[in-house]
Symmetry: C2
Subunit: 319 residues, 2 copies
């Protein structure tokens, strides 16, 4: 018989998922007490938190528990690097029904731990509760290592807009899965397990990025956040956005314009940033520019090839 | 017509709940970017996280949104003070269905903000997602202000066991609500809105507490965590536990022995700690003592009046 959480119990599960966790030397008190204690040598802690809800952010028939764990960690760690910071540690919350196989919970946690270990990040604590549907919360922490944080509000007229990472792959994967298919495998895997370009966040900060965010809602939507916060106008040149082959294949098969995935799709956790032209790091693709607002294009506007974008606006909850 | 989250939208709700939030001077970057940045002058950050699930931790017919917010913040802030630390900031996650009245979400957040403000704690970030049931996550942070953290593992034979705060009130409140009643009001309110003795955590640390935790699972269950982590035996003297009048009334009305509420009831977030006899702070009640384990009473055992406790064991999820 499959062992379930009802049999394993809260404390049994906590023991199963915390034993053998690697612990960085900055972890002064790890899991098992009322709270964790983490060293913050820089004197400033970068903090981000996300909730993932079964049926909204993942489906058990589309993603394995391990993949959900990788994704839950990845989307938080991407927020940390999008500040120009280095991820250091994280805590988790986990809610699940009593009839969930214990192995599912253990594999989820293994996914979180493996994604964290890519960056030397320690899991320092968590909470386990009973819930009708699976709920995962991750709160991640990072260090700026003496640098200023890169905010959304620093874009200036004359800056170039550049990105690194994937755009639209995860969204194309969802389009495929929604139609009951499992291929192209590359886009399905991109939905299941995003691969944020972690190292590029601190690298962009060192190169002098004036603003940055990770693409979680969609390129246009997230650039609007930068344009809003910076009180500027951003124009994207669609010619600069090469459409990768797998996205062309999905577009042909589904009848969706491929550019819609690239401009509107979130969840790949690419990084998009603004730089003075000389500061754009190698490996980043320049896709547009920053200008002042005017009567016709008020600050906060994002245009594509100089015109208002009328495609998918990007993801928003309750929308 | 009542405005719902479906109409307000994710970004509308974020704006509604973040505007006007007080921001402490240690908040370097507040809500609205990929991540927050908080000053940590002490160089060590105390971190705790909890998930609250509708139907498990609260019921909308028993608690107002405002009360759920107060409680969500309180249970995390209690974990911070139980380390001997001073709470400084917190982040929240909020999941809810699209048909939830927007006012419910705003009042929940007001409850979190008001509980936080009691201690000068800043809300520095959060996440808002769609979900079938209401889910609230809180991750709270604290500063040790140069002190060592008070762990569960420091109890030593010869120490006295003392507590401060309420024991069993919230559990008696649940017993009343479960029977469809709304009084005695004091115990129902204790369930809805715990009042942890926040100031006593740092005070106990300064007084030399050798171990400490907050009572969230129940006095016996939480003392077992201390006895386990410290490899000692703890004995509680039931005579030392005065039964407050409202608990006697609930006991008489429900036929439950009053001591069961006191020994097994969680969620009041009293603090229980061990001290050398001379170090017990004024206002704390000595209720027992710490001894070495032996053949009959192995380390990790908690007894009441020298005998194994056979009443309610305290709360555990999936139990």
């Amino acid at each position: 018989m499959t062992e379930t959480l009802g049999g394993t119990g809260e404390f049994g599960l906590i023991e199963a998922v915390t034993k053998g966790l690697p612990r960085g030397e900055d972890v002064l008190v790890g899991p098992g007490d009322d709270a964790a204690v983490v060293a913050v040598p820089d004197g400033r802690m970068v903090i981000t938190t996300d909730l993932l809800i079964e049926g909204r952010h993942f489906r058990q028939d589309w993603s394995s528990a391990y993949d959900v764990g990788r994704k839950a960690a990845a989307q938080n760690l991407a927020d940390i690097v999008a500040m120009g910071a280095r991820p250091t540690s994280l805590v988790t919350g986990f809610g699940a029904p009593a009839d969930l196989p214990t192995s599912w919970a253990v594999e989820l946690n293994q996914g979180i731990a493996d994604e964290a270990e890519l960056l030397g990040v320690s899991i320092v604590g968590g909470d386990v509760v009973q819930s009708d549907k699976v709920v995962v919360s991750v709160t991640a922490f990072g260090s700026l290592d003496g640098r200023a944080p890169v905010l959304r509000s620093g874009a200036r007229p004359g800056d170039e807009v550049a990105f690194v990472g994937r755009l639209g792959w995860a969204e194309a994967g969802v389009a495929v899965l929604n139609r009951g298919f499992r291929s192209p495998r590359t886009v399905v895997d991109a939905h299941r397990r995003p691969q944020p370009p972690y190292a590029e966040g601190p690298r962009a900060a060192i190169s002098g990025a004036s603003s940055m965010c990770d693409v979680s809602d969609g390129l246009i939507a997230d650039l609007r956040h930068i344009a809003d916060a910076s009180a500027v106008v951003i124009d994207i040149r669609s010619q600069a956005l090469a459409i990768p082959e797998p996205l062309q294949a999905v577009a042909a098969a589904t009848g969706v314009e491929a550019l819609t995935f690239v401009l509107g799709g979130g969840d790949d956790h690419a990084l998009v940033a603004t730089f003075e032209p000389a500061d754009v790091p190698d490996g980043w693709t320049v896709i547009g520019s920053v200008a002042e607002g005017n009567e016709n294009l008020p600050p906060g506007t994002v245009t594509v090839d100089g015109a208002a974008y009328t495609g998918a606006p990007g993801h928003a909850h309750f929308g």
